[in-house]
């Protein structure tokens, strides 16, 4: 695909996932941004395996990302779609890509804060229509008015980053010493601990901590697949529920 077209497509997707998608898809495509982004970019760049590898690696850092009360720790549409695309077009390793994506994700919070603030304007306009009882225009405000600012905030920087960025990153990588590349790789192996740590603190329940150890050591010793462990866990959980309900009843 032509570089310009590619930049346009990536910029478009980034905007679309960030603010325009139907809500029932949005959180999955957004919170799972890197994973899905890796897949999408894999198709666009014609190398699905590479895309999946990059996406999965970046995703691990965001396992614990949670969107609560409208706030977010990072702009996942940018980290996930733009970050993956840049990594792939610069031909970086997944671990180096992780660094790129994490940096972009933090910068991206600027885009997010911009539209989350400026969209108030649209809402005030909608207030007027509501006061006139004009339901149709209220809907149009939500549907289309809402997208003006976001489009500017995501599409334009996205396009520019994509158009100029991959070249810049490539040149940068060329001058970085090998030891630093190794160190980036090592750090890339550590960062999933953050995502997983965040998760664990959210779900934290002293009573169930042994299950985390069981899961950990089942993989450490027996290298079982996650699906199998999830199935086992589900079976145990259902047994627990029945037992708990029975206890309740017998009270």
């Amino acid at each position: 695909m032509n570089h310009v077209v590619l930049a346009l497509v990536i910029a478009f997707i980034t905007w679309y996932v960030a603010t325009a998608m139907p809500m029932f898809l949005r959180w999955s495509c957004y919170l799972g941004g890197p994973l899905v982004g890796g897949f999408v970019c894999g198709i666009l760049f014609g190398d699905i395996t590479y895309g999946l590898e990059v996406g999965a690696t970046i995703q691990l850092a965001y396992l614990g990302a949670i969107a609560v009360g409208g706030t977010l720790p990072s702009e996942l549409a940018i980290a996930g779609y733009l970050g993956t695309a840049l990594t792939m077009s610069a031909g970086l390793s997944a671990e180096a890509g992780l660094t790129v994506a994490v940096a972009l994700g933090s910068l991206g919070l600027l885009c997010r804060n911009a539209y989350m603030t400026l969209n108030s304007i649209v809402v005030h306009k909608a207030d007027q229509y509501a006061a006139e009882g004009n339901a149709r225009m209220v809907r149009l405000m939500n549907q289309y008015g809402s997208q003006v600012v976001p489009f500017l905030c995501y599409f334009i920087p996205g396009f520019l980053a994509m158009y100029f960025g991959s070249q810049a990153i490539e040149s940068l990588m060329a001058v970085i010493p090998a030891k630093v590349i190794t160190a980036l790789g090592v750090t890339g192996g550590l960062i999933p601990a953050l995502g997983i740590g965040l998760l664990l603190t959210y779900v934290w329940d002293k009573r169930f901590l042994p299950y985390a150890f069981i899961g950990f050591f089942l993989v450490a010793y027996l290298n079982l697949s996650i699906m199998f462990i999830a199935i086992l866990g589900a079976c145990i959980a259902v047994l627990y529920m029945f037992a708990a309900d029975r206890r309740e009843d017998s009270k």
């Binding site: 008015g145 190794t182 740590g197």
Partner: protein, 282 residues
């Protein structure tokens, strides 16, 4: 159960709204409730769009309609899927109000306010900490092996979850009106369901940790004449001790030291670089 059923039947006679009105309302919610996302009202405008057609139908009078639309423009925020229950209950109450029952707008507004927090709480933890994690866990594993089923399974699973939960909560909200969420939040099986989900979550998180945190030491030395590779020594005690250690450190920083993600990220970078340059990791 039977009580609730009779309630529904009793009221069904005079209902104004048709099933398609409800379906359209639910669809608008689940598609566009966060379309005009903003710090001032969050999902306020989205809520208004979702309920707008119902308001048009219930209140043909322009004054009344304008007042109703304005009321539903206010700040609103809850979890995307479970929160649909509040919309369902609001629709039911607005309908009763239109039918002349003694439901005041105050009752409706305060119900919205009272329920959005609790449903955000339960919904966020189930959707984002549990369902998402299990789906991501399974999918990342496949993706790492280069299997496209990874993202496909994830998207399919999450979408089915979002549509199913919002559909069910919306309609039970509508059927049970005000009492819906209160009942849900108080029920003891919600408690044991959350516990059960936590169990699956915990075991999957543990498995994710062992599979995805990657730390290997390259330290080696000679001990009593023969070469000793530290990583082999550690593995002979128990595999994956270093990843476990890193995770323990992160959790200690998060829970006991209440450090931010950014701080930890930097810490991990520092550790990664320092130990690489010290030829300890590699």
């Amino acid at each position: 159960m039977t009580e609730e059923k009779t309630m529904v039947t009793a009221e069904n006679g005079n209902r104004i709204l048709k099933r398609r009105d409800l379906i359209r309302t639910w669809l608008r919610w689940i598609c566009w409730a966060q379309r005009c996302y903003n710090y001032e009202r969050l999902m306020g405008l989205g809520f208004c769009q979702a309920i707008s057609a119902v308001i048009e139908k219930l209140f043909p009078d322009k004054e009344e309609r304008a007042a109703a639309l304005s009321r539903h423009m206010r700040f609103f925020n809850t979890e995307n899927n479970w929160g649909a229950m509040i919309l369902g209950a609001t629709v039911a109450l607005e309908e009763e109000r239109a039918m002349g029952h003694s439901v005041t707008t105050d009752v409706i507004d305060s119900m919205k306010n009272a329920l959005m927090g609790p449903l955000a709480g339960i919904g966020d933890s189930i959707t984002q900490s549990i369902v998402k994690v299990i789906l991501l866990g399974v999918s990342i594993e496949l993706a790492v092996q280069g299997n496209v089923l990874g993202p496909v399974l994830y998207l399919a699973g999450f979408t089915v979850y979002a549509l199913a939960v919002s559909y069910i909560t919306f309609f039970s909200g509508y059927r049970m009106g005000r009492g819906a969420a209160t009942k849900l939040l108080a029920s003891s099986s919600t408690k044991s369901l959350t516990d059960a989900l936590k169990i699956v979550s915990m075991i999957v998180i543990g498995a994710l940790a062992a599979g995805n945190i990657k730390v290997n030491t390259i330290a080696a030395g000679t001990f009593g004449g023969s070469e000793v590779v530290l990583q082999n020594v550690l593995d002979s005690i128990c595999p994956k001790l270093l990843p476990l250690g890193v995770l323990a450190l992160v959790i200690y920083l998060l829970k006991n030291k209440r450090k931010s993600s950014v701080f930890i990220l930097i810490t991990l970078f520092v550790i990664g670089f320092a130990l690489t340059f010290l030829n300890f990791l590699g």
